[in-house]
Amino acid sequence: MTTEYEVVIGLEVHVELNTDSKMFCSCPTTFGAEPNTHVCPICLGMPGVLPVINRKAVEYTIRAALALNCQVAKYSKFDRKNYFYPDLPKNYQISQYDLPLATGGYVEISVDGKKRKIGIRRVHLEEDAGKLLHEGTGPKTSLVDFNRTGVPLIEIVSEPDLRSPEEARLYLNKLRTILHYTGVSDVKMEEGSLRCDANVSIRPLGSEVFGTLTEVKNMNSFRAVERALAYEVERQKEILERGEKVERETRGWDENRRITVSMRGKEEAHDYRYFPEPDLVPLEISRDWVEEIQERLPDMPDERQARLVRELGLPEYDAEVLTSSKDLADFYDACVKHYPEAKTVSNWVMGEVLGYLNEKGLEITDLPFRPEDLAGLLRLIDKGTISGKIAKQVFQEMCKSGKAPETIVEEKGLKQITDESEIAAIVEKVMEDNPKVVEDFRGGKEKALGFLVGQVMKATRGKANPQLVNRLFRERL
């Protein structure tokens, strides 16, 4: 008989804050600069320099912490975490050890329709390290670029509340959405502004004691996180099934081979000898400041989702999709403001708009037209200026050129033909050309009408009003 196991996962997520300048110096944080041009004596760790705390980074950390339902500390401080690595010029990272900026929050995820609260143990503020490049410099050396060194970074540590790789992905996804709503980070895993490590262990179902955990690193996408965790869970199960013991160690995800590999050696000096950073004075966070930040916090995705259901009567599913990013929710709200048929707008945004964005790999902010243009397009359908089918064609054109729908309809001559006599002439021509089909219909074959209408639409390149065409046929048949 095989034992049933319970999976226990906790995630450590690092998120780069999008302040203009670095954490302790005035170097810019912008991406894509020539290597080692966004550096100064402070972030390079030259002797005798003094770091000074970027107030905005502290504010952003508090904002993120509040969005994650955390308690913000009244008193907090920075510590030195000591280790040697070529991407760390000072040989210590300024981080927070025993007095983080925030503790005790949660994120709510929805698993198979059921809500689950995942605990957040702590949120602390630290500085990023530099970048090591291994390509193009021979097998024995690496190149170091210190441009990212000192960029403010928050670490968000979850409780070991996640019970499957899927839950881990859902949590990560929700965390990203929430942080994106707060605007404190770009949270792009592909660009490294969001990074994730995981602690994974398994234990026999019903056991109160945690199993030995392994730390999994190097997961570079959301999909990689789920895959790596699934692999690691299976690996640990096999070890226990063989009657052996899981070894506590750090393992790296190898995306090409789809396995985790031991990173022994790199982690042996796990003794970071934390001590209070003598160059920085402590933080006393006033309740007024916290309140002020709380007041300016935008609605979080859960609240917005609930509002779409409550106030606009949208189905849960629509509301969840439309609030999956703040930009999308803003776009939807703006459309509805100009065209108050909530469900119609939802259908178009979820269908045409998201379809187009997914196909092209674009973000909603990349659309070349405004929400009022989409509203304008829907009004053109209502007014009978164009059919729903032509509207989709106009939509594609809007995506391409960014032109207003009215302009496109005008320029391309897509206006629906509503002149009855003009369509009647075509209807009669189609009947004349298809005597067999006409007979079929008269003989009771309803489907034949669809064919005839189709012929008219073809002849008018979709511009005939379908209701009108239908009526004209029925009158004549």
Binding site: S26, N36, V52, D271, P282
Partner: protein
Amino acid sequence: MKISRGDVEHVANLARLELSQEEMEALTRQLNDILTHMEKLGELDTEDVPPTYHVLDMVNLFRPDKVGKCLQQEEALANAPDQDQGCIRVPRVLEGS
């Protein structure tokens, strides 16, 4: 003895310091002397003194989020013994196995 020879070896290893036998002996002795000396502080009556995490009586020293001047790449790399493509070149650290 508060600090053993083993402690000194461990810390020296973490700090990537290569110490001779004599240095190791001397440091063990000196570090213990320092700790013994610091213990003198324990004789003070601190009953009415609030605890603190920092020696300076200051909090919340901030700078605004303003971008300032950086070093030129040549300046940043001036002290690097080896460089390539605008980067500092270092011996490769092996990751994974």
